[in-house]
């Protein structure tokens, strides 16, 4: 175990969003394995998170255009009713297409969602809750974004304007590397390019992700050409 000084040095970089590569992975590990049980590091993390908020005050105040407020007003769905079951939000969530099973081209829109036990249509509320957590990590995955949080151990993939692969093809999600791939599942965006997926594995066990385009219904043998990869 690294000493507290080294851990807290890593936490300083973490709250500033300035870690990458091995340091980012190490921070994720520390946040899930060490910090929850260490009062000193938890206090340091909270204090550093607060500084990350306070530093914002050094930027000049700039009032956003009125159009921004109007845009927000239009999108504030009533909280009293089932906020995740109405309007555009649900349209996004329910229209995600996940390929069901391996070797099959059965597609499901809305209701179903499970692919092969490791990839599912995500619940938008879960994604939103994870995404707003200050400990959440986002990183580009090709045309989409990978969102994970050491606090929840969940991993989501979200995207808009994701292009459809060539007809007769699907996107195939893998963990690991092309040399040592671990198949997770197949998926397609909706016709409007929306992706909302949950990887049904602990985020800490997944590691790097990459995506290939494969013939629909093909068995998950060796991955083809990588089209999306998690940034190093």
């Amino acid at each position: 175990m690294r000493d507290h000084e080294a851990i807290q040095e890593l936490l300083a970089g973490y709250v500033l969003r300035s870690l990458s590569g091995d340091d980012a992975s190490e921070a994720d590990r520390i946040l899930s394995e060490h910090v929850p049980g260490c009062d000193e590091c938890r206090a340091t993390l909270d204090a550093f998170q607060a500084i990350a908020g306070e530093l914002a005050l050094d930027a000049p105040v700039v009032e956003p255009p009125d159009t921004l407020r109007a845009r927000l007003r239009r999108e504030l769905e009533p909280r009293a009713s089932s906020r995740w079951n109405t309007g555009r939000i649900v349209a996004v969530a329910a229209s995600v297409v996940v390929v069901v099973g391996v070797g099959a081209v059965a597609l499901t829109r809305g209701g179903g969602g499970l692919a092969n036990g490791q990839l599912a249509r995500a619940d938008l509320q879960d994604v939103a809750t994870t995404a707003v957590n200050p400990s959440a990590t986002r990183q580009p995955l090709g045309e989409a974004t990978e969102i994970s949080s050491p606090a929840t151990e969940k991993l989501y993939i979200y995207g808009t304007d994701v292009p459809l692969p060539a007809p007769g093809s699907v996107y195939r999600l893998w963990a690991g590397s092309p040399e040592q791939p671990r198949y997770i599942g197949d998926f397609l965006p909706t016709d409007d390019g929306t992706l909302l997926l949950e990887v049904m594995l602990p985020a800490s066990s997944v590691g790097a992700l990459f995506v290939t385009v494969e013939p629909a219904g093909s068995p998950p043998g060796q991955p083809g050409e990588v089209v999306w990869g998690t940034a190093a």
């Binding site: 300035s18 914002a56 000049p60």
Partner: protein
Amino acid sequence: MRDGDREDLELHRRLTSGDRGAFDDLYRRYAGPAYGLAVRVTGQQILAQDVVHDAFLALWRAPEAYDPARGPFRTFFLALVHHRAVDLVRRESRLRARSERAANLEPLVGEDPADAIAEESYLGVRRKEVREALATLPPEQRQVLEMAYFGGKTQVQISDELGIPLGTVKTRTFAAMRKLRAALEDTG
């Protein structure tokens, strides 16, 4: 706890009940600082609007993400805006020409009367304390802190740009954060 922090707590409590009035009040209070931060980090007004829009919408949809036991609402929300801005910058970096940054950023600084109004608020008091704390940092520590925070750069990128070892970037960042912690906890 300061009066402003107490007011934020009450607004947040109302927000968790779906109170749009509380949302409007929080928007009035934080839209300017959030947008100013997002403009500074992203360097583009359009991107900054997306950042602030997404942050407020996320707040409305999942207000329970803020845990009052972990600090003031102000720091939670502005850290959220910062994280989103940095994430967006990294995502958009392929498309962003650095020259646009200066072109978009400079005319905005100091031009908006909201700056003066905000100075009269409790946020203005805290802003003064933050700037005073930053001013106490040695230049080399402040430089790496600002490159990371406002420049959205990774420690590896900072190391490359400054031509200094990665370990030095980490050490300076940590030292800066510890000094700011001591200074701001004293005044917070």
